[in-house]
């Protein structure tokens, strides 16, 4: 008997989600007789559905009215349906625990976050302004470094930054665009003012959830959307492909675009699938690509085929073992040289990490003034740079009132929230600050706005942030919407998915709000 042939083994270690077992029924409490929003109290925070205390939101009145008329049991059932569907569709991310990789859904809350047309116009202008300034900054520091020579930003902060790539100095990129895909983290304070918390200009992720959350809402909550003019988010893939085509080498008639992923074990793999599908381009890994004569090729069933434009979801460090981290197995040896020769386009460009550094963030308003001669449309959170002596002193003196963040960490790690920290945690934070002040910034605690959220006990306020996405080729386009992340644990301010956050659909209303003929009837 001949042994059955087998595929060369795939790596092991895929566990399964225990979050949802098929056939597990969840008991649904009886719906309350009172109106669902009667006892809702956002407290002192700005509320995304109700507005502020003195200026109730008019644009979301109809949505509130419909929500109030729902039965809580029905709402819970819809929530469970939505989350089960996400799990079955595999709209999941991998979480590694011990030796197992577990498929987990990003928890989804079915009460949307609503943004009026007017608010959105303001955000859109602000994000466009910011992306423009950051791209001008990147072009400057990799060319004449005027902003450093003029002393607007300390030179060592840029040149000594681990993300500054000497390989990029003097290199011209198409349209002088470095950050093609930008995710800007916004929060809203007690007054209802949007502020930028962080820029993500390297490999921002989350946009797949923006679109998938909308699809989910259309499936489970169509009656809530009825006759409400919501701006669509479906064309993100087209816009991204257009930008990828625009930046391809000019001598190629029909450029081959690909999406380069670290592979199916990356936690954002679903997003890579989603974007490759939405663009209609191959999803490749480093092992699918080779560089010959400073040109990039992919291995197909018919041999090698040229690749012209790469949307890469791999950090600089892993992109090319010849140019950066020599141990990287994820990258493509020689790709950097092909890029420098102009034979292939990369988005985002190499070396953008300088622009979204937490220390550089503090200087962005000055950057906007310097390059555009404008005030920042969306202000920063008031931030102190602990490398500056007086800022360090202020931080140490007010440790119990401030949020202290390391500049190099992502995903909400390493953050100390003063007002909520124990004495031991504060002491630890103080020691770290004194040992390496340059590694930290501090900010006042921002009272993040809240949004009604479905919890086991009813509809409760939970803190949210917002990450809109902008695409820049020749010009900048901002996706009308964004990822609203919600801190599902009562009282917590950290919304990151790695820390137990979930997400909501984000509705940007059409100008004119309700569409003609909208009925103010019940929503059942």
């Amino acid at each position: 008997m001949v042994h059955t042939s087998r595929q060369t083994p795939l790596p092991l270690g895929i566990g399964q989600s225990r979050a949802l077992a098929a056939g597990e029924s969840v008991s649904v409490p009886e719906g309350k007789a009172t109106d669902l929003l009667t006892n809702y109290d956002p407290g002192l925070y700005y509320d995304e559905l109700f507005g502020g205390r003195d200026y109730p939101a008019e644009h979301s009145a109809l949505i509130r009215q419909r929500l109030a008329g729902l039965n809580f049991g029905d709402l819970l059932r819809r929530s469970q349906d939505a989350e089960r569907e996400l799990y079955n569709l595999g709209i999941t991310f991998l979480v590694y625990s011990n030796k197992d990789a577990v498929d987990r859904i990003l928890p989804f809350d079915i009460i949307p976050r609503v943004i009026s047309a007017k608010e959105w116009a303001h955000l859109e202008a602000g994000i466009t302004q910011r992306v423009t300034a950051l791209n001008l900054f990147l072009h400057d520091i990799y060319h004449d470094q005027k902003i450093l020579k003029d002393g607007v930003i300390p030179a060592d902060l840029v040149l000594g930054n681990g993300c500054f790539r000497p390989q990029m100095v003097g290199l011209d990129v198409p349209f002088d665009t470095y950050i093609h895909i930008m995710g800007t983290d916004l929060v809203r304070d007690r007054e209802g003012t949007f502020r930028v918390l962080e820029d993500n200009g390297r490999v921002p992720s989350g946009v797949s959830y923006v679109v998938e959350n909308r699809h989910m809402m259309q499936r489970v909550f169509p009656d809530l959307m009825q006759d409400i003019g919501i701006r669509p988010v479906d064309n993100y893939g087209h816009k991204l492909l257009d930008a990828m085509m625009e930046i391809a080498p000019q001598d190629v008639a029909d450029p081959q675009v690909v999406l380069l992923s670290p592979g199916s074990y990356n936690s954002a793999y679903f997003e890579h699938i989603f974007l490759a599908r939405e663009m209609g381009v191959p999803l490749v890994e480093g092992r699918d690509l080779v560089v010959e004569n400073d040109r990039v090729y992919m291995k197909t069933t018919n041999g090698l085929a040229r690749v012209d434009s790469i949307y890469r979801r791999i950090d600089d460090a892993f992109l090319d073992p010849k140019a950066f981290n020599p141990d990287s197995m994820l990258g493509v040896p020689g790709i950097m040289e092909a890029y420098r020769k102009g034979n292939v386009a990369l988005a985002n460009a190499v070396g953008t990490g300088v622009a979204d550094d937490k220390a550089i963030y503090c200087y962005v308003p000055r950057m906007i003034k310097y390059y555009l001669d404008q005030e920042a449309i969306i202000p920063n959170v008031d931030t102190r740079i602990c490398r500056e002596a007086d800022a360090l002193q202020y931080t140490l003196d007010n440790l119990d009132k401030l949020v202290v963040k390391p500049v190099g960490e992502a995903g909400g790690y390493g953050i100390t929230i003063g007002p909520r920290a124990s004495r031991e945690e504060l002491a630890e934070c103080r020691a770290k600050l004194l040992a390496d002040p340059s590694n930290y910034i501090s900010q006042p605690v921002v009272d993040l706005s809240v949004c009604p959220t479905v919890t086991d006990d009813g509809i409760d306020p939970r803190h949210v942030d917002l990450r809109p996405f902008a695409i820049t080729g020749k010009n900048t386009w901002v996706l009308p919407g964004g990822l609203t992340r919600v801190a599902l644990k009562k009282g917590t301010l950290i919304v990151n998915s790695s820390q137990g956050g979930g997400s909501k659909d984000t509705w940007v209303l059409q100008d004119g709000g309700l569409q003609d003929g909208a009925q103010e009837g019940s929503a059942s």
Binding site: M1, V2, H3, T4, S5, R6, Q7, P9, L10, I14, Q16, S17, A21, A22, G23, N88, L89, G90, Q256, S264, Y269, I273, A276, R277, P282, L283, V284, E285, R287, D288, V290, E292, N293, R295, Y297, M298, K299, T300, T301, N302, G303, L304, A305, R306
Partner: protein, 325 residues
Amino acid sequence: MNLLARYAECIFWMARYMERAENLARILDVHETFARDTRGMTNWFSIVQLNADEKDFFSRHDRPTAEAVVHYYMFDTQNTNSLVSMLRMARENARVLRPWISTEMWTQINVFHNKLVEMNGKGVALPNLSKVCTWIKEECQTHTGITEGTFYRDQGWYFYQLGKYIERADQTTRLLDIKYHTLLPSPVAVGSTLDMSQWTTVLRSAAGYHAFRRVYPRGMSPTTVAGFMMFNEGFPRSVVMCVRQIDGLLTRLKSRYTLRNGSEAMEKVDELLGALLARPIEEVIQLGLHEYLDGVQAQLCGITNEIGRAFFGQDTVPMTQSQSQ
């Protein structure tokens, strides 16, 4: 549209694992239901032999009891030939292929796999085995239907079909082989009820029982059954039928997409088809069916290797630039 070599390989294997899972479910089911000897005993060990798994099986079990064999082939994650492992491999391939296959294909495999894994904890009692096997078989058939109705017909489709038919041909030879010793006519057994029921079992495993009755209403003999399963031109699981499909698929794939490689694979397929058509079943049995089937399995392995070399980039020789345009 270019097809990544790695995708072609994943498509090919996804198809193979799904086909393999369906066949194993059939074998387990039929065994539980029909394969009893005169004392009402079921020889579960023959399934272990069929897959050449003796060594691995005895590394974890002392005796081939019904429970041990069923668990080994349903839920043993260490056994690469268990249903749970096959589904995991199919799902892993599908996961890689999500940008390429339809969402419906992915979702069905994903849900199927997750349900099977959840079942493991509950333990499938023998009386339920048939029900579970039927469910697995139907899920595999659902996959086939979804694929037929949603999988875009380009290069990838050909690699899917190639994988499916190579696996199917291989499985049919294994099914026959399990009973080869009963083909050595012993004066006692020929034509006895036991003999008949053994052959009925083989046919049922391949879903060919009723078709066989239609073709041979008057006689069931080891020779006619083996001939039917090897050479019948209308039976979807016959080896000849599958190899003819493989032949046609490779020819069309190469010409439609002007693929440079694959000639060696085509030669090997022609060779196998020629060999299959060269001898009537009587002659094959006379010469030794078991050796013959082993030969077919080895040739199918050879074809798989050539397909890998030609299309999956397992042998990429760097090409000059002029060739890659």
